[in-house]
Symmetry: C2
Subunit: 344 residues, 2 copies
């Protein structure tokens, strides 16, 4: 490990950014938080005297021209985050991001930019919160040929659906409860409709199968119209309802079947047992059989664990290569394979 501490610039001081800030305020060996960008930098700086040693700014140019080694992108959304990640890599900085939209659409190219620059782009936080599925797919199970992933990838929707199951309440009541717990945005449509899970599923497909999937091409059905009677019907059949993201790749035929939407899952399954903001994934490989992983999939603290882990990985080996995958687009996406147990 280098004697000098790695200097970290944080872009965005919302739910995730402020959780990362708390970790730095408590101290992270080998790392120092030197810059914080936020639209309301002055206000937030005043509220966070424990982070007064950092240079607070509203200007990304200040960060790009700084001596920061690593940029943490915690803004979310595609614009301006994608451009700022690009610019940070071009400026010779490594980047850690929680941004599923950017990685789903642009991850392979950005990894190539990072590799050319001799820098790293890491994104464990983009899928699954603290659940380390990115490393499980990219490293732990890299020695297998993976064939199928079935997963709960959206903590907000899972909190809503598991609450409907537990209390029999209507969706808007469960949504209000999730908002009160800080688990849902003012506009939850990206979560309930499935756009968020589609972006994460596209990242999973790149890591697991080496294929480039347009998230918007993945068949999707919304959970927004689910009613208590749907849960009652599922219960009569020994199941419950979860938002399931699934992808199955037939490498020999080069066919991907993928979907995101509400499905009836058996009450004994790992998915029925996944409640609140948790995420879960079943990963099937030719040689490893079935591997599972689950954990807290949403919230600032869980996401910050993944970000800090990526920062530590960069700080301890600044010359490490995060391989840029050569993703193939040479496959067909089967759109007629929504599972029969799907509801709505």
């Amino acid at each position: 490990m280098s004697a000098r501490r790695s200097r970290v610039a944080l872009l965005g001081f919302g739910t995730v950014g402020s959780a990362v800030g708390r970790r730095f305020a408590a101290g992270i060996p080998g790392l120092a938080l030197t810059h914080i960008l936020d639209r309301r930098a002055a206000l937030k700086r005043a509220r966070h005297p424990e982070l007064a040693a950092a240079a607070w700014t509203t200007s990304v140019a200040d960060v790009l021209q700084s001596d920061a080694d690593i940029v943490v992108e915690a803004i979310g959304g595609f614009d301006p985050a994608a451009g700022w990640i690009d610019a940070a890599l071009a400026a010779g900085k490594s980047v850690v991001t929680a941004n599923k939209q950017v990685i789903a659409r642009d991850g392979a190219r950005l990894l190539q930019v990072a590799e050319r620059q001799g820098r790293q782009l890491r994104f464990e936080a983009a899928v699954g919160g603290a659940m380390p599925i990115v490393r499980a797919l990219a490293d732990g199970l890299a020695g297998d040929r993976l064939t199928r992933i079935v997963a709960i990838l959206n903590g907000t929707t899972n909190a809503v659906l598991s609450q409907m199951e537990a209390s029999g309440c209507a969706l808007d009541v469960a949504l209000a409860a999730a908002r009160a717990r800080g688990l849902a945005e003012a506009d939850p449509s990206a979560d309930l409709d499935g756009d968020d899970a589609r972006a994460k599923l596209a990242i999973v497909c790149a890591l697991a199968f080496g294929i480039r999937v347009d998230p918007e091409g993945i068949p999707m059905r919304s959970c927004a119209a689910l009613e208590p009677r749907d849960f009652a019907a599922a219960r009569r059949n020994g199941g419950t309802i979860r938002q399931i993201a699934r992808a199955e790749f037939d490498a020999a035929r080069a066919v991907l079947a993928a979907s995101v939407g509400p499905e009836i899952v058996p009450r004994s399954s790992i998915f029925a047992r996944t409640i609140g903001p948790d995420n879960a994934a079943l990963i099937v490989g030719e040689h490893s059989g079935e591997t599972g992983i689950f954990g807290v999939g949403a919230g600032g603290d869980a996401t910050a664990v993944a970000i800090v882990g990526d920062l530590i990985a960069i700080a301890r080996d600044r010359a490490a290569i995060v391989p840029a995958p050569h993703l193939t687009s040479n496959f067909s996406l089967s759109t007629s394979t929504f599972p029969s147990e799907a509801v709505c």
Copy 2:
């Protein structure tokens, strides 16, 4: 990735080694199997014409003096494996091993040797078979302070106990069935007594808590005396019996509580649902809450997935640093904390 394929020497052609050999025979991009050491090299070479391109030998000197870049140690046991790993690192080779005894007792020192040599020592296969728990602890959850691990780490014992639960049979009957499936050695005492799980738990403690635990100091109770009536009694209380390895580290007090032995687990728990040779682990962190992982924990094919994953990691970044942990021995091991639900 380097244009030249990384050259791999395989030490030991038993259950694990031959599974690795099958993967090479099918082809692994970027890697070539160039040397195979086995006590019965001539016999096994004759039986494996698909691996005739490799140089088969009975002499470790042939491997150490060869141009192999990476040595896979798949012999098992402490001697001579530990000395051969040391010698391979000294000869400038990276090492991938499935050897829990060597890593539990000597892993930190060997990682330092590897780092000094500018080489890598990787050991995902030493714990959990295909279940990628080493990377989950060392990388994925490195951004948290972990406090507790509860796990099933011995696939043989789990196959025996879950069979006793399912069929009501005696232990020796379940053991014979496990042997017939290739899941138990002629002498299963290291599995049933808990020595195997203790070694793996010591590795887990090093990765999760940064502490050096002597496996033989971990309190252990054997599963060898379990009887059908123990399972019947557990069932009446809504549970079943599994061999549980647990470790809880109180960093503030520098106290580790650890144990391996049969415990009554609730039938709804992840451990009761872990059957056959599967492994499972619940990992608790201050910021990440509870993360779980499960998968096939024993058998040649599953172990080979972990080994091949480590080989791929080395081949794609030969200069990567696998951090040598600075383990503290400055803690006390609480030996009076065997959980109350423990049986036998």
